[in-house]
Amino acid sequence: MTDSAPHIEVMRSQLGRARGLGAGGSGTAHWWAERVSAASLLPLSTWFIVQMFRLGGADHAAVVKWGGKPVNATMLTALIITTFYHAQLGLQVIVDDYVHGKAHLPTRILVKLFTSLLGLLGVVAVIKFVAAGNRRS
């Protein structure tokens, strides 16, 4: 019998081990968070596309001035945080589906790290726009 041949590793039925464990526990919270962030992104991304019609092709001064306005800064921050939160939830499901074994946990942590850092970079950029607006006035 080679290593790759099917074999049973424990005396207890493997199906028995899998049965009766119930749900994972946090699935519902994840499902709700994904839906609520998706619904929030509908108005936020619509706002962003409208803004891009006003801003596409603009020069540096115009973009900084736009990002420094309180309403724009608020909407932009909300959009960035919700986008990368939703991306984190979605990418996590993909990792859960396709990455197994030892690589699973590190990959999940990397996904969290990168989406969080990208979101933070966006928020910091908005803070700089607001600060630039304060200097001018």
Binding site: A5, P6, H7, I8, E9, V10, S13, Q14, L15, G16, R17, A18, R35, A38, A39, L41, L42, S45, I49, M52, F53, G56, G57, A58, D59, H60, A61, V63, V64, G67, L76, I80, T83, F84, A87, G90, L91, I94, H100, G101, T115, L118, G119, L121, G122, V124, A125, V126, K128, F129
Partner: protein, 157 residues
């Protein structure tokens, strides 16, 4: 046992020998259906939209860094390759939005029958194509016009 799903993969033949039970068939075996393409597309466009959002954040960061960095960003967004990426980002976001709205409708228990699913699929493709084309043409047109006007005024940073 590493993977709990393996519990279901081992079976016994009538002569008592252990065999690996067949797993569910894969893409080469299933007959092509639009619904399966649309399903995986929702995932792929989600990943693509995340990549686009990352580029969008870099654009914001370039503007926050200063005029020089933003001039580089403008070179990217004004370049044909950059514009292709922007259109790809836009189309991904539009399709992921359409797919997401369909998921929300399914979650409410509606339009989830086989006939309805097969009827709505082509509509989703049509809406995505239409909205993406209109938005992409509009945005690129407006941006190019504004950039030209700025260049004419002689002070494009």
């Amino acid at each position: 046992m590493q993977d709990i799903r393996k519990a279901l993969y081992v079976g016994t033949r009538s002569d008592g020998r252990l065999i690996e039970r067949p797993m569910s068939p894969h893409l080469q075996i299933y007959r092509y259906r639009l619904s399966m393409v649309l399903s995986i597309s929702n995932r792929l466009t989600g990943v693509a939209a995340t990549g686009g959002a990352a580029l969008g954040v870099f654009w914001l960061a370039a503007a926050a860094k200063g005029p020089k960095a933003f001039a580089t960003a403008r070179k990217v967004t004004g370049n044909p390759v950059g514009q292709l990426l922007l259109v790809g980002w836009l189309a991904s976001v539009v399709y992921h939005t359409v797919g997401g709205i369909r998921h929300l409708i399914w979650d409410s228990g509606k339009r989830y029958d086989k006939e309805q699913l097969n009827k709505d699929g082509p509509v989703a493709v049509g809406v995505t194509a239409g909205v993406s084309t209109v938005l992409a043409a509009g945005l690129l047109g407006v941006a190019a016009k504004r950039a030209r006007a700025l260049a004419k005024a002689g002070k494009a940073s």
